[in-house]
Protein backbone atom coordinates (compact mmCIF):
# COMPACT_ATOMS: atom_id res chain seq x y z
CA UNK A 1 0.00 0.00 0.00
CA UNK A 2 2.01 2.93 -1.23
CA UNK A 3 1.16 6.05 0.73
CA UNK A 4 1.63 9.15 -1.32
CA UNK A 5 1.07 11.48 1.59
CA UNK A 6 4.03 13.62 2.55
CA UNK A 7 2.41 15.06 5.67
CA UNK A 8 2.56 13.34 9.02
CA UNK A 9 -0.10 10.78 9.82
CA UNK A 10 -1.81 11.92 13.04
CA UNK A 11 -0.20 9.83 15.77
CA UNK A 12 -1.86 8.84 19.01
CA UNK A 13 -0.88 10.99 22.00
CA UNK A 14 1.66 9.57 24.43
CA UNK A 15 -0.92 9.19 27.17
CA UNK A 16 -3.35 7.33 24.98
CA UNK A 17 -0.62 5.01 23.73
CA UNK A 18 0.37 4.27 27.34
CA UNK A 19 -3.23 3.62 28.39
CA UNK A 20 -3.96 1.33 25.48
CA UNK A 21 -0.82 -0.79 25.70
CA UNK A 22 -2.21 -3.44 28.05
CA UNK A 23 -5.51 -4.02 26.17
CA UNK A 24 -3.62 -4.09 22.87
CA UNK A 25 -1.16 -6.69 24.14
CA UNK A 26 -3.97 -8.76 25.64
CA UNK A 27 -5.94 -8.60 22.39
CA UNK A 28 -3.00 -9.62 20.20
CA UNK A 29 -2.15 -12.50 22.50
CA UNK A 30 -5.79 -13.59 22.53
CA UNK A 31 -5.22 -14.52 18.88
CA UNK A 32 -2.44 -16.88 19.89
CA UNK A 33 0.98 -16.85 21.54
CA UNK A 34 3.56 -14.45 20.22
CA UNK A 35 6.95 -12.83 20.93
CA UNK A 36 7.85 -9.18 21.49
CA UNK A 37 9.02 -8.12 18.05
CA UNK A 38 6.13 -9.77 16.19
CA UNK A 39 3.65 -8.35 18.68
CA UNK A 40 4.83 -4.83 17.97
CA UNK A 41 4.74 -5.38 14.22
CA UNK A 42 1.19 -6.68 14.48
CA UNK A 43 -0.01 -3.58 16.32
CA UNK A 44 1.86 -1.28 13.95
CA UNK A 45 0.30 -3.04 10.98
CA UNK A 46 -3.26 -3.07 12.36
CA UNK A 47 -3.14 0.59 13.36
CA UNK A 48 -1.84 1.60 9.94
CA UNK A 49 1.31 2.93 11.58
CA UNK A 50 -0.58 5.34 13.79
CA UNK A 51 0.20 3.57 17.03
CA UNK A 52 3.93 3.74 17.36
CA UNK A 53 5.53 2.43 20.50
CA UNK A 54 9.04 3.15 21.56
CA UNK A 55 9.62 -0.54 21.05
CA UNK A 56 11.80 -1.22 24.06
CA UNK A 57 9.15 0.17 26.38
CA UNK A 58 6.89 -2.76 25.61
CA UNK A 59 9.09 -5.21 27.48
CA UNK A 60 8.73 -3.75 30.98
CA UNK A 61 4.96 -3.84 30.38
CA UNK A 62 5.12 -7.48 29.27
CA UNK A 63 7.21 -8.35 32.33
CA UNK A 64 4.79 -6.52 34.57
CA UNK A 65 1.86 -8.41 33.03
CA UNK A 66 3.78 -11.64 33.55
CA UNK A 67 4.27 -10.76 37.22
CA UNK A 68 0.57 -9.97 37.54
CA UNK A 69 -0.14 -13.42 36.08
CA UNK A 70 -2.11 -12.01 33.13
CA UNK A 71 0.24 -13.73 30.71
CA UNK A 72 2.92 -16.41 30.91
CA UNK A 73 6.20 -16.68 29.08
CA UNK A 74 8.47 -19.40 27.82
CA UNK A 75 11.93 -19.35 26.25
CA UNK A 76 12.13 -21.46 23.09
CA UNK A 77 14.59 -21.80 20.28
CA UNK A 78 13.50 -19.86 17.21
CA UNK A 79 14.13 -20.83 13.59
CA UNK A 80 17.09 -18.39 13.61
CA UNK A 81 18.80 -20.54 16.23
CA UNK A 82 18.59 -17.86 18.94
CA UNK A 83 16.43 -18.20 22.01
CA UNK A 84 13.19 -16.28 21.89
CA UNK A 85 10.69 -15.52 24.63
CA UNK A 86 7.11 -16.37 23.72
CA UNK A 87 4.17 -14.91 25.63
CA UNK A 88 0.82 -16.56 26.04
CA UNK A 89 -2.48 -15.40 27.57
CA UNK A 90 -3.55 -16.91 30.90
CA UNK A 91 -7.05 -17.38 32.20
CA UNK A 92 -6.75 -14.22 34.31
CA UNK A 93 -5.59 -12.33 31.24
CA UNK A 94 -8.62 -13.41 29.31
CA UNK A 95 -10.85 -12.11 32.11
CA UNK A 96 -8.92 -8.84 32.19
CA UNK A 97 -9.34 -8.52 28.45
CA UNK A 98 -13.13 -8.82 28.89
CA UNK A 99 -13.14 -5.97 31.39
CA UNK A 100 -10.90 -3.82 29.21
CA UNK A 101 -13.09 -4.48 26.22
CA UNK A 102 -16.20 -3.35 28.06
CA UNK A 103 -14.52 -0.18 29.31
CA UNK A 104 -13.07 0.83 25.96
CA UNK A 105 -16.36 0.15 24.20
CA UNK A 106 -18.15 2.30 26.76
CA UNK A 107 -15.82 5.21 26.03
CA UNK A 108 -16.11 4.60 22.31
CA UNK A 109 -19.91 4.46 22.45
CA UNK A 110 -20.20 7.59 24.56
CA UNK A 111 -18.00 9.59 22.24
CA UNK A 112 -19.84 8.22 19.22
CA UNK A 113 -23.15 9.34 20.70
CA UNK A 114 -21.78 12.74 21.63
CA UNK A 115 -20.26 13.36 18.23
CA UNK A 116 -23.30 11.88 16.50
CA UNK A 117 -21.11 9.75 14.27
CA UNK A 118 -22.70 6.89 12.41
CA UNK A 119 -20.86 3.90 13.85
CA UNK A 120 -19.27 2.09 10.96
CA UNK A 121 -18.33 -1.52 11.15
CA UNK A 122 -14.79 -2.50 10.34
Amino acid sequence: MPSSVMYRVPMLSKELVAASTVPLVLSVLAQGENYGYALIQRVRELSGGRIEWTEGMLYPVLHWMEKEKLIEAEWREAETGRRRKYYRLRKEGRAALGTEREQWLTVHQTLTNLWKIQPHST
Partner: protein
Protein backbone atom coordinates in the same frame (compact mmCIF):
# COMPACT_ATOMS: atom_id res chain seq x y z
CA UNK B 1 25.02 -5.54 0.89
CA UNK B 2 25.39 -2.53 -1.30
CA UNK B 3 27.26 -0.52 1.25
CA UNK B 4 30.84 -1.69 1.61
CA UNK B 5 31.47 0.47 4.70
CA UNK B 6 33.50 -1.42 7.29
CA UNK B 7 30.76 -1.69 9.87
CA UNK B 8 30.85 -4.68 12.23
CA UNK B 9 27.29 -5.36 13.29
CA UNK B 10 28.26 -7.84 15.99
CA UNK B 11 30.69 -5.37 17.48
CA UNK B 12 28.08 -2.62 17.45
CA UNK B 13 25.56 -4.90 19.15
CA UNK B 14 28.14 -5.89 21.73
CA UNK B 15 28.89 -2.25 22.47
CA UNK B 16 25.20 -1.47 22.72
CA UNK B 17 24.64 -4.33 25.13
CA UNK B 18 27.65 -3.41 27.26
CA UNK B 19 26.39 0.15 27.48
CA UNK B 20 23.01 -1.07 28.73
CA UNK B 21 24.67 -3.33 31.24
CA UNK B 22 26.79 -0.49 32.51
CA UNK B 23 23.70 1.63 33.09
CA UNK B 24 22.17 -1.09 35.22
CA UNK B 25 18.61 -2.22 35.74
CA UNK B 26 18.67 -5.23 33.39
CA UNK B 27 18.94 -8.95 34.00
CA UNK B 28 20.80 -11.18 31.55
CA UNK B 29 17.50 -12.59 30.25
CA UNK B 30 16.08 -9.14 29.61
CA UNK B 31 19.20 -8.11 27.73
CA UNK B 32 18.98 -11.22 25.60
CA UNK B 33 15.34 -10.52 24.82
CA UNK B 34 16.13 -6.93 23.82
CA UNK B 35 19.08 -8.01 21.72
CA UNK B 36 16.95 -10.63 19.99
CA UNK B 37 14.43 -7.92 19.19
CA UNK B 38 17.13 -5.63 17.83
CA UNK B 39 18.60 -8.37 15.65
CA UNK B 40 15.21 -9.22 14.21
CA UNK B 41 14.41 -5.58 13.54
CA UNK B 42 17.80 -5.11 11.86
CA UNK B 43 17.41 -8.14 9.62
CA UNK B 44 13.98 -6.97 8.43
CA UNK B 45 15.28 -3.45 7.67
CA UNK B 46 18.35 -4.91 6.00
CA UNK B 47 16.17 -7.06 3.77
CA UNK B 48 14.37 -3.87 2.69
CA UNK B 49 17.52 -2.41 1.25
CA UNK B 50 19.10 -0.55 4.15
CA UNK B 51 22.77 -1.11 4.84
CA UNK B 52 23.70 -2.91 8.06
CA UNK B 53 24.74 0.36 9.64
CA UNK B 54 21.57 2.18 8.59
CA UNK B 55 19.46 -0.72 9.81
CA UNK B 56 21.28 -0.72 13.14
CA UNK B 57 20.74 3.01 13.57
CA UNK B 58 17.04 2.89 12.74
CA UNK B 59 16.45 -0.24 14.83
CA UNK B 60 18.12 1.19 17.95
CA UNK B 61 16.17 4.43 17.43
CA UNK B 62 12.94 2.49 17.39
CA UNK B 63 13.90 0.51 20.47
CA UNK B 64 14.57 3.65 22.51
CA UNK B 65 17.71 5.25 23.86
CA UNK B 66 19.81 3.32 26.35
CA UNK B 67 18.90 5.83 29.03
CA UNK B 68 15.17 5.57 28.38
CA UNK B 69 15.33 1.79 28.42
CA UNK B 70 17.33 1.68 31.61
CA UNK B 71 14.95 4.07 33.37
CA UNK B 72 11.89 2.16 32.26
CA UNK B 73 13.24 -1.28 33.18
CA UNK B 74 14.37 0.08 36.54
CA UNK B 75 10.88 1.37 37.23
CA UNK B 76 9.43 -2.05 36.44
CA UNK B 77 11.86 -3.79 38.80
CA UNK B 78 12.76 -1.35 41.58
CA UNK B 79 14.47 -3.99 43.75
CA UNK B 80 17.27 -4.41 41.25
CA UNK B 81 18.11 -0.76 40.72
CA UNK B 82 17.77 0.06 44.41
CA UNK B 83 20.13 -2.74 45.37
CA UNK B 84 22.72 -1.12 43.15
CA UNK B 85 21.99 2.34 44.53
CA UNK B 86 22.15 1.08 48.13
CA UNK B 87 25.49 -0.47 47.29
CA UNK B 88 26.90 2.83 46.11
CA UNK B 89 25.47 4.57 49.16
CA UNK B 90 27.34 2.19 51.46
CA UNK B 91 30.48 2.65 49.38
CA UNK B 92 30.06 6.39 49.92
CA UNK B 93 29.78 5.93 53.69
CA UNK B 94 32.95 3.83 53.80
CA UNK B 95 34.90 6.16 51.54
CA UNK B 96 33.82 9.15 53.65
CA UNK B 97 34.94 7.30 56.77
CA UNK B 98 38.31 6.56 55.22
CA UNK B 99 38.78 10.14 54.09
CA UNK B 100 37.85 11.45 57.53
CA UNK B 101 40.40 9.17 59.17
CA UNK B 102 43.16 9.98 56.70
CA UNK B 103 42.58 13.71 56.90
CA UNK B 104 42.10 13.79 60.66
CA UNK B 105 45.61 15.14 61.44
CA UNK B 106 45.42 18.01 58.97
CA UNK B 107 42.88 20.26 60.69
CA UNK B 108 44.87 20.05 63.91
CA UNK B 109 48.08 20.95 62.13
CA UNK B 110 46.48 23.81 60.29
CA UNK B 111 44.99 25.20 63.50
CA UNK B 112 48.31 24.97 65.30
CA UNK B 113 50.19 26.65 62.48
CA UNK B 114 47.59 29.41 62.32
CA UNK B 115 47.82 29.97 66.04
CA UNK B 116 51.59 30.08 65.90
CA UNK B 117 51.48 32.68 63.21
CA UNK B 118 49.53 34.76 65.70
CA UNK B 119 46.53 35.14 63.42
CA UNK B 120 43.32 36.72 64.59
CA UNK B 121 40.97 34.21 66.30
CA UNK B 122 38.35 34.49 63.61
CA UNK B 123 40.89 33.80 60.89
CA UNK B 124 42.01 30.66 62.72
CA UNK B 125 38.37 29.72 63.15
CA UNK B 126 37.77 30.22 59.44
CA UNK B 127 40.67 27.93 58.65
CA UNK B 128 39.16 25.29 60.97
CA UNK B 129 35.84 25.83 59.26
CA UNK B 130 37.22 25.49 55.77
CA UNK B 131 39.77 22.71 56.13
CA UNK B 132 37.01 20.12 56.15
CA UNK B 133 35.78 21.40 52.78
CA UNK B 134 38.74 21.75 50.53
CA UNK B 135 39.96 18.26 51.36
CA UNK B 136 36.82 16.68 49.98
CA UNK B 137 37.26 17.78 46.38
CA UNK B 138 40.79 16.37 46.57
CA UNK B 139 39.47 13.04 47.82
CA UNK B 140 36.71 13.04 45.21
CA UNK B 141 39.17 13.79 42.41
CA UNK B 142 41.50 11.00 43.54
CA UNK B 143 38.74 8.40 43.80
CA UNK B 144 37.28 9.49 40.48
CA UNK B 145 40.67 9.12 38.90
CA UNK B 146 41.28 5.69 40.38
CA UNK B 147 37.86 4.17 39.76
CA UNK B 148 36.77 6.12 36.70
CA UNK B 149 39.93 5.61 34.71
CA UNK B 150 40.92 2.17 35.85
CA UNK B 151 37.67 0.34 35.42
CA UNK B 152 39.53 -2.98 35.29
CA UNK B 153 40.73 -2.41 38.89
CA UNK B 154 37.21 -1.65 39.94
CA UNK B 155 35.87 -4.78 38.27
CA UNK B 156 38.60 -6.87 39.86
CA UNK B 157 37.76 -5.47 43.31
CA UNK B 158 34.05 -6.15 42.85
CA UNK B 159 34.81 -9.63 41.52
CA UNK B 160 37.05 -10.41 44.48
CA UNK B 161 34.50 -9.05 46.95
CA UNK B 162 31.88 -11.37 45.54
CA UNK B 163 34.13 -14.41 45.32
CA UNK B 164 35.53 -14.29 48.85
CA UNK B 165 33.41 -11.86 50.86
CA UNK B 166 34.71 -12.90 54.29
CA UNK B 167 38.35 -12.41 53.36
CA UNK B 168 37.71 -9.05 51.73
CA UNK B 169 35.49 -7.94 54.62
CA UNK B 170 38.06 -8.81 57.27
CA UNK B 171 40.81 -7.21 55.17
CA UNK B 172 38.82 -4.01 54.72
CA UNK B 173 38.01 -3.89 58.43
CA UNK B 174 41.60 -4.45 59.53
CA UNK B 175 42.89 -1.96 57.00
CA UNK B 176 40.55 0.77 58.16
CA UNK B 177 41.19 0.04 61.85
CA UNK B 178 44.92 0.16 61.20
CA UNK B 179 44.49 3.46 59.40
CA UNK B 180 42.50 4.73 62.35
CA UNK B 181 45.33 3.90 64.74
CA UNK B 182 48.06 5.04 62.42
CA UNK B 183 46.72 8.53 61.95
CA UNK B 184 47.13 9.74 65.56
CA UNK B 185 50.79 8.70 65.25
CA UNK B 186 51.13 10.77 62.11
CA UNK B 187 49.47 13.60 63.97
CA UNK B 188 51.95 13.30 66.83
CA UNK B 189 54.86 13.22 64.43
CA UNK B 190 53.64 16.34 62.63
CA UNK B 191 53.12 18.11 65.96
CA UNK B 192 56.67 17.25 67.00
CA UNK B 193 58.06 18.69 63.81
CA UNK B 194 56.04 21.80 64.37
CA UNK B 195 57.28 21.90 67.89
CA UNK B 196 60.87 21.91 66.63
CA UNK B 197 60.19 24.56 64.02
CA UNK B 198 57.93 26.90 65.86
CA UNK B 199 58.69 26.42 69.54
CA UNK B 200 55.99 25.49 71.99
CA UNK B 201 52.59 24.28 70.92
CA UNK B 202 50.42 27.26 71.37
CA UNK B 203 47.66 27.18 73.94
CA UNK B 204 45.08 29.71 72.77
CA UNK B 205 43.87 32.27 75.28
CA UNK B 206 40.28 31.92 76.57
CA UNK B 207 38.92 34.55 74.23
CA UNK B 208 40.41 32.89 71.14
CA UNK B 209 39.25 29.54 72.44
CA UNK B 210 35.65 30.79 72.68
CA UNK B 211 35.85 32.11 69.13
CA UNK B 212 37.29 28.80 67.92
CA UNK B 213 34.55 26.89 69.70
CA UNK B 214 31.80 28.83 68.03
CA UNK B 215 33.42 28.26 64.61
CA UNK B 216 33.64 24.56 65.46
CA UNK B 217 29.98 24.49 66.44
CA UNK B 218 28.96 25.96 63.10
CA UNK B 219 31.27 23.64 61.29
CA UNK B 220 29.65 20.61 62.93
CA UNK B 221 26.22 21.99 62.19
CA UNK B 222 26.92 22.91 58.59
CA UNK B 223 29.04 19.97 57.46
CA UNK B 224 26.06 17.52 57.32
CA UNK B 225 24.05 20.27 55.69
CA UNK B 226 26.70 20.44 52.99
CA UNK B 227 26.32 16.72 52.32
CA UNK B 228 22.56 16.96 52.23
CA UNK B 229 22.59 19.85 49.81
CA UNK B 230 25.32 18.23 47.70
CA UNK B 231 23.06 15.28 46.80
CA UNK B 232 20.39 17.15 44.82
CA UNK B 233 22.88 19.68 43.45
CA UNK B 234 25.08 16.91 42.09
CA UNK B 235 21.99 15.09 40.81
CA UNK B 236 20.93 18.23 38.97
CA UNK B 237 24.40 18.56 37.46
CA UNK B 238 24.45 14.89 36.47
CA UNK B 239 21.07 15.33 34.82
CA UNK B 240 22.24 18.28 32.78
CA UNK B 241 25.34 16.34 31.90
CA UNK B 242 23.34 13.50 30.42
CA UNK B 243 23.25 13.58 26.70
CA UNK B 244 19.82 14.10 25.27
CA UNK B 245 18.10 10.91 24.19
CA UNK B 246 18.30 10.40 20.46
CA UNK B 247 15.11 8.44 20.08
CA UNK B 248 11.97 10.50 20.09
CA UNK B 249 13.75 13.77 19.50
CA UNK B 250 12.42 15.18 16.27
CA UNK B 251 14.98 15.63 13.57
CA UNK B 252 14.70 17.91 10.65
CA UNK B 253 14.04 16.09 7.43
CA UNK B 254 14.40 18.77 4.84
CA UNK B 255 14.17 16.81 1.63
CA UNK B 256 16.15 17.83 -1.38
CA UNK B 257 14.40 17.93 -4.73
CA UNK B 258 15.41 14.50 -6.00
CA UNK B 259 14.74 12.75 -2.74
CA UNK B 260 10.94 12.91 -2.50
CA UNK B 261 10.58 9.77 -4.56
CA UNK B 262 13.15 7.83 -2.54
CA UNK B 263 11.47 8.90 0.69
CA UNK B 264 8.16 7.65 -0.62
CA UNK B 265 9.72 4.28 -1.41
CA UNK B 266 11.10 4.04 2.11
CA UNK B 267 7.74 4.99 3.55
CA UNK B 268 5.99 2.30 1.59
CA UNK B 269 8.46 -0.16 3.11
CA UNK B 270 7.40 0.70 6.63
CA UNK B 271 9.82 3.46 7.55
CA UNK B 272 8.39 6.59 9.08
CA UNK B 273 8.94 9.88 7.30
CA UNK B 274 11.41 10.86 9.97
CA UNK B 275 13.38 7.66 9.56
CA UNK B 276 13.37 7.99 5.78
CA UNK B 277 14.66 11.53 6.17
CA UNK B 278 17.39 10.30 8.50
CA UNK B 279 18.59 7.65 6.07
CA UNK B 280 18.52 10.03 3.10
CA UNK B 281 20.33 12.75 4.94
CA UNK B 282 22.92 10.26 5.98
CA UNK B 283 23.42 8.89 2.48
CA UNK B 284 23.81 12.41 1.24
CA UNK B 285 26.55 13.65 3.50
CA UNK B 286 29.06 12.81 6.18
CA UNK B 287 28.12 10.15 8.65
CA UNK B 288 27.63 12.35 11.66
CA UNK B 289 24.14 11.05 12.18
CA UNK B 290 25.12 7.57 13.25
CA UNK B 291 27.38 8.49 16.09
CA UNK B 292 24.85 9.60 18.70
CA UNK B 293 23.09 6.30 19.18
CA UNK B 294 26.29 4.50 20.12
CA UNK B 295 27.93 4.86 23.52
CA UNK B 296 25.24 7.24 24.59
CA UNK B 297 25.69 6.64 28.27
CA UNK B 298 29.24 7.71 28.77
CA UNK B 299 31.40 6.43 31.54
CA UNK B 300 31.51 9.91 32.99
CA UNK B 301 27.79 10.37 33.37
CA UNK B 302 27.43 6.90 34.89
CA UNK B 303 30.09 7.69 37.48
CA UNK B 304 28.52 11.05 38.18
CA UNK B 305 25.31 9.26 39.00
CA UNK B 306 27.13 6.83 41.26
CA UNK B 307 28.71 9.82 42.99
CA UNK B 308 25.21 11.19 43.60
CA UNK B 309 24.32 7.97 45.41
CA UNK B 310 27.55 7.98 47.40
CA UNK B 311 26.89 11.52 48.60
CA UNK B 312 23.29 10.60 49.38
CA UNK B 313 24.57 7.67 51.42
CA UNK B 314 26.81 9.94 53.50
CA UNK B 315 23.99 12.42 54.09
CA UNK B 316 21.56 9.66 54.95
CA UNK B 317 23.93 8.03 57.42
CA UNK B 318 24.51 11.43 59.05
CA UNK B 319 20.77 11.87 59.50
CA UNK B 320 20.40 8.35 60.84
CA UNK B 321 23.16 8.95 63.36
CA UNK B 322 21.40 12.04 64.68
CA UNK B 323 17.92 10.55 64.68
CA UNK B 324 18.68 7.14 66.07
CA UNK B 325 22.22 6.44 67.24
CA UNK B 326 22.73 9.48 69.44
CA UNK B 327 19.40 9.14 71.27
CA UNK B 328 20.17 5.43 71.79
CA UNK B 329 23.35 6.38 73.63
CA UNK B 330 21.16 7.95 76.33
CA UNK B 331 20.67 4.51 77.84
CA UNK B 332 24.40 4.31 78.51
CA UNK B 333 24.34 7.83 79.93
CA UNK B 334 21.39 7.10 82.20
CA UNK B 335 23.06 4.15 83.87
CA UNK B 336 26.41 5.80 84.46
CA UNK B 337 25.99 6.20 88.23
CA UNK B 338 24.80 2.65 88.88
CA UNK B 339 26.52 -0.63 89.73
CA UNK B 340 29.14 -1.79 87.15
CA UNK B 341 26.96 -4.67 86.05
CA UNK B 342 24.09 -2.31 85.29
CA UNK B 343 26.49 0.02 83.49
CA UNK B 344 27.63 -2.84 81.28
CA UNK B 345 24.02 -3.72 80.63
CA UNK B 346 23.14 -0.11 79.79
CA UNK B 347 26.11 0.11 77.42
CA UNK B 348 25.15 -3.14 75.72
CA UNK B 349 21.56 -2.02 75.32
CA UNK B 350 22.50 1.31 73.75
CA UNK B 351 25.01 -0.36 71.41
CA UNK B 352 22.36 -2.82 70.23
CA UNK B 353 19.43 -0.42 70.26
CA UNK B 354 20.96 2.09 67.84
CA UNK B 355 21.67 -0.32 64.96
CA UNK B 356 18.35 -2.11 65.57
CA UNK B 357 16.39 1.13 65.27
CA UNK B 358 18.46 2.21 62.26
CA UNK B 359 17.79 -1.17 60.66
CA UNK B 360 14.07 -0.73 61.24
CA UNK B 361 14.13 2.74 59.64
CA UNK B 362 16.07 1.44 56.63
CA UNK B 363 13.76 -1.57 56.23
CA UNK B 364 10.66 0.63 56.35
CA UNK B 365 12.16 3.01 53.81
CA UNK B 366 13.23 0.13 51.56
CA UNK B 367 9.79 -1.41 51.48
CA UNK B 368 8.20 1.97 50.77
CA UNK B 369 10.59 2.74 47.93
CA UNK B 370 10.34 -0.64 46.26
CA UNK B 371 6.55 -0.81 46.62
CA UNK B 372 5.93 2.74 45.42
CA UNK B 373 8.53 3.30 42.72
CA UNK B 374 6.54 6.14 41.17
CA UNK B 375 6.48 8.28 44.31
CA UNK B 376 10.18 7.83 44.97
CA UNK B 377 10.90 8.50 41.31
CA UNK B 378 8.96 11.75 41.45
CA UNK B 379 11.11 12.93 44.34
CA UNK B 380 14.15 12.03 42.26
CA UNK B 381 12.70 14.10 39.42
CA UNK B 382 12.38 17.14 41.69
CA UNK B 383 16.04 16.71 42.69
CA UNK B 384 17.12 16.58 39.06
CA UNK B 385 15.00 19.36 37.67
CA UNK B 386 14.94 21.76 40.64
CA UNK B 387 18.19 20.91 42.44
CA UNK B 388 18.44 24.15 44.37
CA UNK B 389 14.86 23.92 45.62
CA UNK B 390 15.37 20.29 46.64
CA UNK B 391 18.65 21.15 48.38
CA UNK B 392 16.98 23.95 50.35
CA UNK B 393 14.00 21.74 51.28
CA UNK B 394 16.23 18.91 52.48
CA UNK B 395 18.42 21.41 54.31
CA UNK B 396 15.40 22.81 56.14
CA UNK B 397 14.29 19.31 57.13
CA UNK B 398 17.76 18.52 58.38
CA UNK B 399 18.02 21.80 60.29
CA UNK B 400 14.70 20.87 61.91
CA UNK B 401 16.12 17.52 63.00
CA UNK B 402 19.24 19.21 64.29
CA UNK B 403 17.32 21.86 66.26
CA UNK B 404 14.96 19.21 67.64
CA UNK B 405 17.88 17.18 68.79
CA UNK B 406 19.57 20.20 70.31
CA UNK B 407 16.38 21.13 72.17
CA UNK B 408 15.91 17.55 73.30
CA UNK B 409 19.37 17.36 74.83
CA UNK B 410 19.22 20.91 76.18
CA UNK B 411 15.80 20.92 77.82
CA UNK B 412 14.46 17.35 78.11
CA UNK B 413 17.48 15.34 79.17
CA UNK B 414 18.47 16.28 82.70
CA UNK B 415 22.00 17.70 82.93
CA UNK B 416 22.91 14.89 85.31
CA UNK B 417 22.19 12.44 82.52
CA UNK B 418 24.62 13.94 80.05
CA UNK B 419 28.04 12.41 79.73
CA UNK B 420 29.09 8.84 80.21
CA UNK B 421 30.93 6.76 82.77
CA UNK B 422 34.10 4.92 81.80
CA UNK B 423 32.27 1.65 81.20
CA UNK B 424 29.51 3.25 79.14
CA UNK B 425 32.09 5.17 77.11
CA UNK B 426 33.99 1.98 76.31
CA UNK B 427 30.77 0.39 75.08
CA UNK B 428 30.06 3.38 72.88
CA UNK B 429 33.52 3.12 71.34
CA UNK B 430 32.71 -0.49 70.43
CA UNK B 431 29.34 0.68 69.18
CA UNK B 432 30.99 3.23 66.91
CA UNK B 433 33.24 0.53 65.48
CA UNK B 434 30.14 -1.55 64.86
CA UNK B 435 28.08 1.15 63.16
CA UNK B 436 30.85 2.86 61.23
CA UNK B 437 32.84 -0.13 60.09
CA UNK B 438 31.50 -3.62 60.70
CA UNK B 439 27.89 -3.09 59.65
CA UNK B 440 28.69 -1.03 56.51
CA UNK B 441 31.31 -3.54 55.36
CA UNK B 442 29.01 -6.50 55.91
CA UNK B 443 26.16 -4.65 54.22
CA UNK B 444 28.34 -3.75 51.26
CA UNK B 445 29.45 -7.31 50.68
CA UNK B 446 25.92 -8.61 50.99
CA UNK B 447 24.58 -6.00 48.57
CA UNK B 448 27.37 -6.64 46.06
CA UNK B 449 26.57 -10.34 46.09
CA UNK B 450 22.87 -9.71 45.71
CA UNK B 451 23.48 -7.22 42.92
CA UNK B 452 25.66 -9.62 41.00
CA UNK B 453 23.16 -12.41 41.58
CA UNK B 454 20.42 -10.28 40.04
CA UNK B 455 22.50 -9.63 36.95
CA UNK B 456 23.30 -13.35 36.66
CA UNK B 457 26.30 -14.22 34.59
CA UNK B 458 26.45 -11.60 31.86
CA UNK B 459 26.91 -13.96 28.96
CA UNK B 460 29.11 -12.56 26.20
CA UNK B 461 26.92 -11.95 23.19
CA UNK B 462 27.67 -13.52 19.88
Amino acid sequence: MENPAPFDLNHALQQWRASLQNLGGFSADELEELEGHLRESISVLHARGLSAQEAFTIATRRLGSERQLSDEFAKANPQRIWTERAMWMVVGVLVAYMVRVVFAPFPNTITMSALQLGLNGHLVGASVFLDGWFLWPVAAAISYWIFGRHSSWRDRVVEAAIRSPVLIGVGLFLGLVYLQHLMPDVDRLVSQKLHVVGGLTVAPNPKTLAILNSWCFWKNFLAPLFWIAAGPLLAGYAWRNRQKPVSGSPISYDMQPGEQEAARVFESQGLSLEEAGLVLKWRRGPQELVAPSLGLATNRSIWLERAVWMVTGVAFSDCLARLVLEPASLVAAATRATAPLLQHLGGLVSVCLGPALAGAVIAALWSWITRHPRQSASFGRVCRLRPILAAIALGVVFAGIECGQYAFFRYVVAPSNRGFGDIGYQWLVYGAELTQLIIPIALLLWLARRWRGMQTNPAPCR
